[in-house]
Amino acid sequence: MKTPRTTIWVAAAAAAALFLSACTAGASDPEGTQKDSMTIAFTAEPVNLDFTSTSGVAIPEALMDNVYESLVRVDGEGRIQPALAEEWDISEDRRTYTFRLQEGVTFSNGADFTAEDVKFSYERVQNEWKNPLKAKMDLVDSIEVVDDHTVKIALERPSNMWLYSLTTLVGAIFDTEGTTDLANEAIGTGPFAIEQFTRGQSIDYVARDDYWGDAPAVKKVQFKYFTDAVAASNALKSGEIDVISNLQAPELAGEFQSDEYQIVSGTTNGEVVLSMNNADGIFKDKAAREAVMHAIDRKAVLDTAWAGYGELIGSMVPPTDPYYEDLTGVWTYDPAKAKQKVEEAGIEGEEFAFAVPNLPYAQAISQIVSAQLEEVGLKAKVETQEFPAVWLDKTFTEHDYDMSVINHAEPRDILTVFSADYYIGYDDSTIKPIAEKADRGTEAEYIAGMKTIARTITEDAASNFLFLFPNLVVAKSDVKGVPANRVSDAFRIADLSWN
């Protein structure tokens, strides 16, 4: 046995070693909010940088339009604009697209962007991607490199959806040499390169000097991830961050009503859906679903659950889509009628499973919705499910639920969500042929067809479309260029600047 004194010295030395070795612990997060840098708070953090194998909004939000670019992009009004393709022709039979590519474009690794990269990237979607969104590229029949800056893409059949889907992450252009470590290294043609990715904490971007387009106003940007909305709002108040990209606790917005801050509220592609299991259980009966449609006061739900931020839509289509139509009048709040429908369906007092993800909006909605349903004799048994894991397993995969509530955030997802094998189990036999015809038709036919589909789904009381999730941005008042609407899967840093 050593003498006590020696032991104490050994212990002290060990503690000192621990402390010194810890000097590098969690290295990241440089200080500084000079006017050429900006720090932006986000909620959903990317688990890696590879959206070709991992789903979810977090990765494209961080990378699309900032690091990766597509041939085309969508603007704030939902129109398709040129990006890496400066122009394109569509053949007479509307099956072949010829893209004329921007010249003088380089990737962040120095490689030149050519038509070969387009062919490589889009064939890779078909062959290598694991993200289920890759199905959007299934239509592509062949990709031909005409010359360095011209590429011809032939589709199996005409499709209105296809060009739009290029504005989403499946359109991202990768370098032929740049896909070896996608999870950790993102190499694209965009205005920014990633300087450091600290998983779970932050992404540091630095503006590229050799970017082909207009140089962004802000040179250094940090995305910082906060699971807790209060922590994010504290950080904004104490000046540690400059922008909250989407405030997840709208009741906190009131604290920012001063000259120091600006609150921008616009639209997103996220429809908050009170989904019902159409294929099985209590809501297989249309009368039961109609009861739910009449029982819910959507305005009250929006006001209570999300402080009135957001928009009533009445269908699965946000106002920024070309085939939007205001369908809020199809189902009116009418408790008497709802009671009548409950009787018709013979379900008064019958308990049903209401699977609620443990997300702030879903928790808030479930309370008021349950209360409103109770009023007309519908008895919801609320089961809180951990999101994503448990909800995806039980509700989404096993379809073991009667009612749920979730924000379907993907752009133009009406046909996905209301296809027969999706968790809602909607009988799509009526809308399927209409969808196919619309996709092949002219643009006018497409819009008309999609309107019919949206109306049919709403009239079938397939689910209750509670409201459109708002794009609620809070920023310091001297931040310029905060976009009101979020219409793509990207958060475009290049639009932001300081006053």
């Binding site: 000097c23 991992t54 779970g200 950080a235 994503p388 894991a389 989404f396």
Partner: protein, 315 residues
């Protein structure tokens, strides 16, 4: 002494084996899996099945368990499903961050509790002692996340002395590192200090009733002097036991504080891994935590003979 060490080592191994089995079993009962989470709301059953196969989730549990244990014996905690990167460096980095937090907290807690508790015992019968006693009772009742929120409101939002969140490695700036450390450490330390104060107080009170203190007083020492010369070392034994338990609790209890202050410690890593069903990462982190708790207990056991010569000679 050798026999003592050997039996401790054997206990250590058995505890680790049991822990590994329990952790692995618990993980397999968790609903949901990494493939579903990675593919999200666009997944088709075929895509999920293919990804499960790639992750090796379709292998029988016993095979997966043995592969995992074999890896750990070689110092390799495996590869994360989600990031595709080795887990070992992730664990090392996050454990360091949490260790700083926890060690600083317990040091601050001891620095507050020992003088306060001693004072409260000495002044047991007057208003100061009663006040300290009452305050420590209140401190125990305050959950540390609430303490954190209140501290942020006062010292960050109102006074602007410290950042409200974040972490900075000391190599990037000692000032920034310390500034970000203060509020989380104080939030954790306050509650622990309150608990510890009560133990110190009662330990000191017990010691004061001992015969040797009376003897010392009879020899002419003042009450305070008798306590400092003869009492404190004796009072230290129960306090060390409690502090050891607290240290272990803090290690896991830092999870919430790490969330509140957005600190990249082991708690944040654990929460994230569970959310993504990145089970190999969860298992790895839990095993490291188990090891640390066992090591802390071991160190506490070693401290007893140092503090108390009677235990030394008994061993």
């Amino acid at each position: 002494m050798l026999a003592y060490l050997l039996s401790r080592a054997a206990q250590f191994v058995v505890a680790l084996v049991v822990a590994s089995v329990v952790v692995f079993l618990l993980m397999s009962f968790l609903p949901g899996n990494a493939a579903q989470v990675a593919l999200g709301t666009n997944a088709t059953p075929e895509a999920v099945a293919a990804l499960e196969a790639q992750y090796g989730l379709d292998e029988p549990p016993l095979i997966r368990y043995l592969q995992w244990v074999a890896g750990m014996l070689g110092g390799d905690f495996g590869t994360s499903y989600v990031t595709g990167a080795p887990i070992t460096p992730v664990i090392i980095a996050s454990v360091q961050v949490t260790a700083i937090l926890v060690v600083c907290s317990i040091v601050v807690a001891v620095l507050i509790a020992v003088p306060l508790g001693t004072f409260a015992a000495l002044e047991q019968r007057n208003w100061i002692g009663v006040t300290i006693s009452a305050l420590s009772q209140v401190g125990i009742a305050v959950p540390n996340f609430l303490a954190a929120i209140i501290l942020v409101m006062i010292f960050s939002l109102q006074l602007g002395w410290f950042p409200s969140q974040g972490w900075m490695a000391s190599i990037e700036g000692v000032g920034g590192f310390l500034a970000r450390l203060v509020l989380p450490v104080v939030s954790l330390a306050l509650v622990q200090a309150a608990i510890l104060t009560r133990y110190v107080r009662s330990a000191v009170l017990d010691v004061m009733r001992e015969d040797y203190i009376r003897t010392a007083r009879a020899k002419g020492l003042t009450r305070t002097r008798a306590l400092f010369v003869h009492g404190l070392r004796n009072a230290a034994i129960p306090v060390i036991t409690v502090a050891g338990v607290q240290l272990a609790t803090l290690l896991v209890g830092a999870v919430i504080i790490e969330q509140v202050f957005v600190i990249p410690g082991v708690g944040s890593e654990l929460v994230r891994a569970v959310a993504n069903r990145d089970l190999v990462t969860v298992q790895g982190i839990v095993m490291v935590l188990v090891m640390l708790v066992l090591i802390i207990n071991f160190i506490v056991d070693l401290l007893y003979p140092i503090v108390d010569p009677r235990i030394r000679s008994a061993a």
